[in-house]
């Protein structure tokens, strides 16, 4: 079994998260040794402080759920996140621009963002056709991102089944060889996470990290 724990971006992007909640998320990340902590922009500073002295990455979610803010605004939020201490950006692609085939605008937007910090790009695969997933993944790679990611964890419109997500991961892998693949959205159990890794995921974004880590340790001690 792959070391799932090291692949997890421990995610807390609840709208009503408090300072206490974010501190707890960071403490859990320290305790289990997750790959990163994924938070909304207003919590970057706090997470950086809480994770001081560790190698756990502070990852910030930019422009959910559809990446529709104007380019200048997206760039401004990313730059502020860098100032606040973020290590990585998880940026939503402009899904509507992909739908309308405004590919050069999408590429230009992402290229500039990728210069700010190592960037994972969320393509919202549940909204896209297979052809659009392929095209979006190609653009993500071309823009210089380190990773292409399926979805945001709390997207209120996401109705994608996990099986379909696994299929999307394979399209992404093929279309963007050589960069990382991150699966996120509806990954609740160790089985879910393993299914995503099986389908090609390098990183798992989930808020069920503690349950998954516990199950992983149980399974390992039995084996």
């Amino acid at each position: 079994m792959p070391n799932i724990i090291k692949m997890i971006d421990h995610t807390n992007i609840e709208h009503n998260a408090t300072e206490k909640d974010i501190i707890k998320t960071c403490q859990e990340a320290r305790f289990y040794g997750f790959r990163g902590v994924d938070v909304n922009p207003q919590w970057v500073k706090l997470a950086k402080k809480e994770l001081k002295g560790t190698k756990i990455k502070v990852v910030v979610l930019i422009d959910p759920p559809m990446g529709q803010s104007p380019h200048f605004q997206r760039v401004a939020i990313c730059k502020q996140a860098k100032k606040d201490g973020a290590d990585e950006l998880d940026v939503v692609i402009n899904v509507i621009d992909i739908k309308y085939e405004r590919f050069s605008e999408v590429l230009a937007d992402l290229k500039e963002i990728c210069k700010i910090l190592p960037t994972k790009v969320i393509i919202g695969s549940g909204y896209l056709t297979d052809e659009e997933i392929k095209k979006a993944s190609e653009i993500v790679k071309k823009a210089g991102a380190i990773c292409v990611k399926t979805a945001t964890e709390k997207d209120p419109l996401d109705r994608l089944e996990l099986k379909e997500k696994a299929r999307h991961l394979q399209i992404m892998r093929k279309a963007a060889p050589g960069i990382l693949i991150k699966a996120s959205g509806k990954i609740k159990t160790l089985e879910d996470a393993l299914m995503m890794v099986q389908a090609g995921a390098d990183i798992i974004g989930t808020s069920s990290s503690v349950e998954i880590a516990k199950a992983y340790k149980r399974n390992k001690s039995v084996a």
Copy 2:
């Protein structure tokens, strides 16, 4: 058979529509006698001029596909549309706010918009659960809108089947008695339009109006 022609808002909200296209849309509306013409904000002035002397309504689509612009911006676009000569607003509800149950914000936003012009509110029913459709429809009525509408015609993310749309119309009718119901999205043929009317629609939003009107006239002359 109900007079479908008088129920149609003849819709041209193509992103790349030209002045010539909008003039053609208005001429078709005059020729067939549709209820209204539905255009993007930049075409209100032209449509008003082209429809002068008729009772055909100039309807303007506000903030597709998800109603996520800030409140002040939505209000500003609506006020400008009124200045330009619009008769009705077709405004997208903030779908994400409905998802996150920020109902008082949604109500406050729509209340102010409904004061500007007679307003139809697009709830994006394809994104919503039955319970959310009910709640959104109740808010739309409470805000003072004249009509609750299913979707925008060109929503790039709309995957709703027509049968499911018909079912949504019934939920909307029950939740918002006494106001109009408009069906839009994927209504391509006379049969589609009749199915929507059967399910409770008072107004049909479609870009296939000319084909539907022709089929209606053929059917009527045969009967």
